[in-house]
């Protein structure tokens, strides 16, 4: 895909280009006139103090919330008026800050559910085109097993997802969204509450994904992780765009430090 994309290509056809986004919950302006662009093949960080509006912005990009104003282009298609179900078809996948596995389904089935364009998801095809359904299902299960290997959950393939630990759930969500093979992925705090050994593993997996050409937008509070992963970082505070830059520059920026301290006070 966009492996080794030049800076010019990234500029031309971004994976996501959102402008003027606005969403208020009652009186709370969670996101206000926010713009963000995720280049093709880019690894972009999104940071900001608690309550800055990062997850709300994500939910607008992912279609869960409809913005009150603004536009969202996903792979050059206007998506602000379309709902969450349409996002994966545009090439955008997401994970959740609080993981959402299908708890009673097995780990393997959770992942297989991510498969797209399955003939067997059409009601009558299960009777009329059973041969095709069967072949696709076998292929999907094979792919899901590969993805479980990729996130090292293969030994739990037949357990119900409810038995997974918090960190394992984050990995399961990653495998599940990869099953849909989106070109861009929104990751909401994939490392929150994860032990240091698993953290290194998650870092290695998302780096591998980016190297495969996937564009990634990452929300993360762990600055060390952000520094190691991201090409560029956008800072939000109070629902607005504050600044952006290389991770190291941003961390030194007095305005950013003040925003974090201000939020803590």
């Amino acid at each position: 895909m966009a492996q080794g994309a030049t800076a010019a290509e990234m500029e031309q056809k971004p994976a996501i280009k959102a402008q003027g986004l606005k969403l208020a919950f009652g009186g709370v302006k969670a996101v206000d006139d926010m713009a963000i662009t995720l280049g093709r093949g880019e690894f972009l960080g999104l940071i900001g103090p608690n309550g800055a509006g990062k997850t709300t912005l994500f939910n607008m990009l992912a279609g869960t919330y409809r913005p009150q104003a603004g536009s969202i282009l996903i792979n050059d298609v206007e998506a602000s008026g379309r709902d969450a179900t349409a996002r994966i078809g545009l090439g955008l996948g997401r994970t959740f800050q609080i993981p959402k596995p299908f708890p009673q389904m097995t780990v393997l089935e959770n992942v297989v559910t991510g498969a797209q364009h399955q003939t067997g998801e059409r009601l009558f095809a299960n009777f009329l085109r059973y041969g095709k359904v069967k072949a696709e299902e076998r292929a999907a299960i094979g792919r899901a097993r590969e993805l479980l290997d990729f996130v090292k959950l293969s030994h739990l393939a037949h357990e119900p997802a409810r038995v997974l630990s918090g960190g394992q759930r984050k990995l399961l969500e990653l495998a599940r969204v990869l099953m849909a093979d989106p070109s861009a992925i929104l990751l909401d705090e994939p490392a929150a509450g994860v032990n240091p050994a698993l953290l290194e593993f998650i870092i290695s997996r998302v780096l591998a994904l980016n190297a495969q050409g996937k564009s990634i937008l990452l929300i993360e509070h762990n600055m060390d992780m952000v520094t190691r992963l991201c090409h560029r970082v956008v800072v939000m505070a109070g629902g607005r765009y504050l600044t952006e830059g290389k991770p190291a520059e941003v961390a030194r920026n007095p305005a950013v430090v003040e925003a974090y301290l201000g939020a803590a006070a």
Binding site: A84, R87, K100, M105, T106, E121, N126
Partner: protein
């Protein structure tokens, strides 16, 4: 002895017609979580459509059309599916409790319609002379009873097989995913409204088919056969048998119908004749007691829901069974 077998066949045949209704409700509630309290309406539509199409021409009402029984059954399923799809399209986008209100209202409308559209439905007198499968054998009650049982048993088995096939298919998996976490499913591109609508229509079609089969087995239908008590019975069957489990739905139907029939017989034997009309309410009480007992002893029903896995996953079946036991 022959009488006993005849009665057994009659009882089981009738019980299986309820089992089919119960399988339909299981698709909607057990697998998808759709709260349909208008079961009687969909069963009634199926029964009337099939009766209308297959009865001989009647002078005092529209039709019948004297078509083959199989045509009547298929048309019954299609008509009930269309009715469910229409009702579902209007209400499934709304909050889930609206579906309950809408289905209840729908069943009342159906019942009032068949009661009052006399030119179409025979009104309060209902429709009689509905052709019975193997009607030519009616002179030998035993053979006739067993043949009927075989037909209804085959229909039950076919519906059961088709539903099990669907539940283990990618379609069934998406249905479970939506039930467990709608937001996560939609992030994966699964349109919850579309899948719910399909499940609702499939369930409705099965209820319509059950209504038709029952009508042809009894040979006579009338509006009081499709009142809310029927909905209550089918729900009781599903809860007792185990919501989410197709075998449970069948077992629950047979057990609850047995309780219903036995309490009816006990009332006839022990209650003086002039009190029997009032005492028949005790049958409903008996079903209530049965539900309470089952929920106390086996909270998930006789056969609770089991982990369902795609049939293409090797060994996963055994694994799921281990987990469930």
């Amino acid at each position: 002895m022959i009488e006993l077998i005849s009665y057994g066949a009659f009882f089981l045949t009738l019980a299986l017609t309820y089992a089919i209704m119960c399988l339909g409700l299981n698709v909607q509630w057990g697998q998808t979580g759709l709260f349909n309290v208008g079961v009687a309406g969909f069963v009634g539509i199926g029964a009337y459509v099939s009766a209308l199409l297959t009865t001989p021409d009647a002078p005092d009402r529209f039709g019948g059309f004297d078509l083959p029984i199989a045509v009547g059954w298929i048309a019954a399923a299609i008509a009930a599916a269309l009715a469910s799809a229409l009702l579902g399209a209007m209400t499934l986008r709304l909050r889930s409790d609206y579906l309950a209100i809408a289905t209840f209202g729908f069943a009342v409308v159906v019942q009032l319609a068949v009661l009052n559209l006399q030119k179409l439905t025979g009104g309060p007198f209902g429709i009689s002379f509905i052709p019975r499968p193997f009607g030519a054998l009616a002179s030998d009650p035993l053979v006739f009873g067993l043949c009927n049982l075989a037909v209804v048993g085959a229909v039950t088995l076919a519906v059961y097989g088709a539903l099990e096939h669907l539940m283990r298919s990618p379609w069934g998996r998406v249905l479970r995913a939506i039930r467990e976490d709608e937001q996560a499913a939609s992030a994966l591109g699964k349109n919850a409204t579309v899948f719910r609508l399909q499940a609702f229509a499939v369930g409705g079609a099965i209820m319509g088919l059950a209504g038709a089969v029952q009508g042809h087995f009894i040979g006579y239908i009338s509006p009081e056969g499709y009142v809310p008590i029927l909905t209550f019975q089918v729900w009781a069957m599903l809860i007792v048998g185990g919501s989410g489990n197709n075998r449970g739905a069948i077992a629950g139907a047979i057990l609850v119908w047995a309780i219903w029939a036995a309490s009816g017989a006990a009332l006839a034997a022990f209650i003086p004749a002039d009190q029997q009309a009032r005492a028949s309410a005790l049958k409903i009480v008996m079903i209530g007691v049965a539900i309470c007992l089952v929920l106390l002893l086996r909270p998930r029903g006789l056969l609770g829901e089991r982990a369902t896995v795609s049939r293409h996953v090797e060994n996963a079946g055994d694994h799921a069974k281990d987990k469930a036991s």
